[in-house]
Symmetry: C2
Subunit: 346 residues, 2 copies
DNA sequence: CTCCTTCTTGCAATCGTTCGCAGAAGTCTG
DNA sequence: CAGACTTCTGCGAACGATTGCAAGAAGGAG
């Protein structure tokens, strides 16, 4: 009859009986907050009993009583995108230190799944949420805000200034990318962006435009295009489009490493070479970019750190220590590798 | 006063009052199992009330009462290893269909963290476990088995034949890899393996030995070495070692793509070229291997499928439909890319 | 010796469900 | 029309912890 499941078997009551005290006393003895209330002699006895019986608090029972689950929901668009494991890891580690556990939910970028996942998480009684799926205009998030749910956005953010967020500094990264290309001598620079309905898409195209102006280069609308979704395939499609519209372009700046990979394909299909004929720059500097062929020049930021600070912000909020809605922007730097080179001589 | 948390606010009792019935009736009406017990008229009324009040069951309360959390713990050595996101995704998707949720825990491959994570999961009352961290001799797993906990191993497995597992067919993959090299004309083939304390390390070196014998090639012990851990750095170390011991070797078969990447580095450092001078073959065929420089020839298996079948096995076990301990081996195939070529002419 | 603190512990209610048991209708059979 | 049977719903006790309240003991002040 091996079907005991993993539920902890020894209860508070049993420890109490063993130590000859009331369950309430055991509860107090085991909780650091209330430990001071109990006589040091009894405390020792209770602790000994607990250890002997290998007592473990039943989190479920506690949560029911205290109305706090010590659990945080994490909404991720797609775990297959190599950007997210590092972020998740940062979240996980910091929550862990505060005895919180994270419940991760994947949405595949589909809005209907967002609500479904959200309901699921709510049913499980999460105390707060970290959301990496924010749309620029996101009614779902605003509804959560209305309800007074603790929410923090990571990587992407919505227009609502009331929800805290941790994002990467698009302006700095883009400017560095464009400067780098300009210094190499590029002039006809194209942009392959992410969908405008998410903040990263929006912020990065804005940053691209400003950056081009800043270095005094021409902004031709035929050299700017967005993908429908963030994927290698879409990147290839847009890359082809750009190369067709302006065969003279010598560089493509992208909003994302996956899109950049797609552009590699497009360049190759057009019978050209990266970086000899066309330079390509990515964004995010996801793991293994240095291994690609050619190694990808990309805008880098600390992804682990992004997750960690988002989690820390949420914890502060849950502890009631923070009531504002800070918008943290993480520093970005350009990592130059081999996908960028001087333009071919005309 | 925005601190309501995410706990569902409307309770069964409120729905009952609204519908003019007893809470127990609402409970029965909402549970598919017991729905048949309630009169269709009352059923309709209760359902209407529930919908109107947007009732959502409080999973925590239910779990406390039923002693089942509908939660499964997943132990992963390292989420940063690109092999695991796909597996996790497969697990997640199949659990989801059965209304189970997964609690993911990362161990960083450290044994002490395994027990800590396990205690954590147990406190949270998981119904079963999917373990990707198994050591070949794993007392922890055996202890769990003793306790009658439902456990399934994925990717790696321990020696205990009592615990179900889903792994990749090492023999088939290795043989295909060696055949491929032999056909290209290689003779001095080296092996860079994973640690022998995990089953993948053990199984793959055995498979390598058998494969070499099968095609009639010499098995020189100086051309066989294992890493201490599964990482690019360790792969490079072992690669260097192998190249130093036998500078004449023309191919390296590895137990893992990360190790293969390390071998790329070692080959390059030795002033040689892959694949012109040294061919390299990986194992796992993780995402983006086709993007590496050169694109990596690797032994492939369906990682998503691996996670999915492991989850399905656990679910069956939890439903009491399965009492044996099946050991599923997933088919492996060699994906030939550009890291393998004929050996240089002597 | 009484009154008032301070410390320590026990009592019992509560969190939101589920489920065994029992009872109230209603139906059927002979 | 009595008795047996089915169908439906309510009652109340769990599940395992936490916590406000009260009470007993001990000690000090007046």
């Amino acid at each position: 009859m091996p079907t005991s499941g993993l539920m902890p078997r020894v209860t508070l009551r049993e420890v109490a009986d063993h130590a000859g005290v009331h369950p309430a006393t055991v509860s107090r003895a085991l909780n650091p907050e209330t430990q001071a209330m109990v006589n040091s002699e009894t405390l020792a006895r209770v602790l000994a009993s607990a250890r002997e019986l290998k007592y473990q608090t039943n989190t479920i029972a506690r949560s029911l009583r205290t109305q706090r689950s010590l659990t945080v929901g994490v909404l991720i668009p797609d775990i297959m995108n190599p950007l997210f494991p590092s972020i998740v890891r940062g979240i996980e580690d910091t929550l862990d230190k505060a005895d919180y556990t994270s419940l991760i939910a994947y949405t595949d970028g589909r809005a209907d799944r967002v609500t479904a996942r959200l309901d699921r998480l709510r049913q499980r009684g999460v105390d707060g949420l970290i959301v990496a799926t924010a749309q620029l205009r996101d009614p779902t998030l605003e509804a959560l805000l209305e309800e007074g749910v603790a929410v923090v956005q990571v990587n992407r953010r919505s227009t609502s200034r009331l929800i805290p967020s941790v994002t990467a500094d698009a302006a700095g990264g883009m400017l560095a990318a464009i400067r780098h290309l300009a210094e190499l001598g590029h002039e006809r620079i194209a942009y392959a962006g992410a969908p405008l309905r998410v903040s990263t898409g929006r912020a990065r195209i804005d940053a691209f435009r400003r950056g081009m102006r800043a270095v005094g280069l021409e902004l031709a609308s035929e050299r700017i295009e967005q993908t429908e979704s963030v994927s290698v395939g879409e990147g290839a499609r847009v890359g082809r489009e750009l190369l067709e519209r302006d065969p003279q372009l010598t560089a493509i700046v992208t909003a994302n490493d996956l899109i950049a990979l797609g552009c590699y394909d497009a360049v190759r299909e057009a019978g050209r070479d990266c970086p000899a004929d066309v330079s390509v720059i990515g964004f995010n500097d996801m793991p293994f970019t240095d291994r690609f062929d050619p190694p990808l020049t990309s805008v880098h930021f600390d992804q682990y750190e992004m997750g960690a600070t988002a989690a820390a912000m949420l914890l502060r909020r849950l502890a009631g220590e923070e009531s504002g809605a800070p918008r943290v922007e993480l520093e970005t730097t350009l990592v130059v590798r081999a996908s960028t080179a001087p333009p071919p001589r005309a």
